[in-house]
Amino acid sequence: MTIDDVLAQVRARLDLEADREHELLEEIRGHLQDAVDAAMARGLDPEAALAEAASRFGIVATTGELRRAHAGWGALDGVLAAAVPVVLALLFRWLIFAPDGTATGWREALNRPAFWVIAIISLLAPLARFRQRRAVLAVWALFWGLSLATALGGAVRW
């Protein structure tokens, strides 16, 4: 058995987001290596030293605690990344620029300073709010790119 084998058992039980899991596994590797070194200094052979270190670590109990302590919010980030652009699009469409339910063209909206203020705040808000900024920004860039392209092209008929 090697440290990698122990880590493989830990990994199978952790089931966390990949980056968080990688950080934890590297930390555990360091602790295990220290424990193995200490046991070998006491005169144990490498295999016995690793067995003792793994036993002290307690794969089942410790991984359970780690999973509970480090369970992420990745799915929620995904929910927010999908919901925020859609909510703001609906707010733009129905509450801010056409509260009476009539169609207001995007060309007309482009001439209103409020449009730009809200668009910029909406674009910047995810930067301060979410951990997975790149994903949120990609959604936003696509959404706003399309919005502006269709507005400038006059292709949208609300």
Partner: protein, 229 residues
């Protein structure tokens, strides 16, 4: 359990989640959290659907889409519960409803994940029949994923049941068909969700016709066979 944390639990830690439903741990908070989050997600998706027509249609669809799923649940829940009971299940009605709500919550999350795509098509196409069929397709995919979770959940929750496991698995499969039929008819009854551009806003349309005939008619128009009036 936080209302949105339930999403994380279902998607990432589903074995534990279903295990807790099997053991009856925290059923009420789980059901409340699933109910609230699925209503929110379905309302958002519904609002996007109705946004092709008018503000009132968007508002109406935001209310009607959660209503569609929850009404279908209410109509279909007793069937699943009693047939499971007949074939030896020891699950309570609460556990059955929690499992069905899990399926609805997963469906709602998948629909939400499609909402930006729907906004994209809202911005770039004005073809009503295409938009309608796109929504039918998205709802079918989302429903399928939700139902897969239901089957998985039923399997975990029923684990340890002594008799009739095979029969109960068949009951779930048959129930899924019933659920799909009831759901599609419910959707037809509660229509419009998108709103034909040539028609004024109506909260509900007159009864008549059926969901499947309408989907075929829309397909026929898109393929150029005829024009739907």
């Amino acid at each position: 359990m936080g209302n949105l944390a339930v999403i994380e639990a279902i998607l990432r830690d589903r074995k534990n989640f279903f295990g807790e439903i099997r053991d009856g741990i925290g059923l009420a908070p789980k059901m409340r959290a699933m109910l609230l989050s699925s209503i929110a997600f379905l309302a958002l998706y519904g609002a996007v659907m109705g946004s092709t027509h008018s503000f009132w249609q968007a508002l109406s669809s935001a209310v009607k889409l959660p209503l569609l799923f929850l009404a279908t649940l209410v109509v279909c829940a007793p069937t699943l519960y009693f047939f499971n009971l007949i074939f030896g299940s020891n699950q309570s009605l609460g556990q059955n409803i929690a499992l069905m709500l899990t399926a609805i919550t997963v469906t709602a999350v998948v629909l939400l994940s499609f909402a930006p795509i729907l906004v994209f098509f809202l911005l770039t196409t004005g073809q009503y029949q295409f938009f309608k069929l796109l929504n039918v397709g998205i709802c079918a995919v989302a429903g399928l994923v939700g139902v897969m979770f239901l089957v998985q959940g039923m399997r975990i929750v029923a684990a340890g049941g002594k008799e009739g496991a095979g029969a109960r698995a068949n009951v779930v499969r048959l129930w899924i068909l019933i659920y799909a039929f009831v759901g599609s008819q419910m959707a037809w009854t509660l229509r419009p969700f998108i709103g034909a551009p040539s028609m004024k806003f109506e909260l509900f349309r007159q009864l008549g016709g059926n969901f499947y005939a309408n989907v075929f008619a829309s397909l026929g128009e898109i393929l150029g066979f005829f024009t739907v009036r």
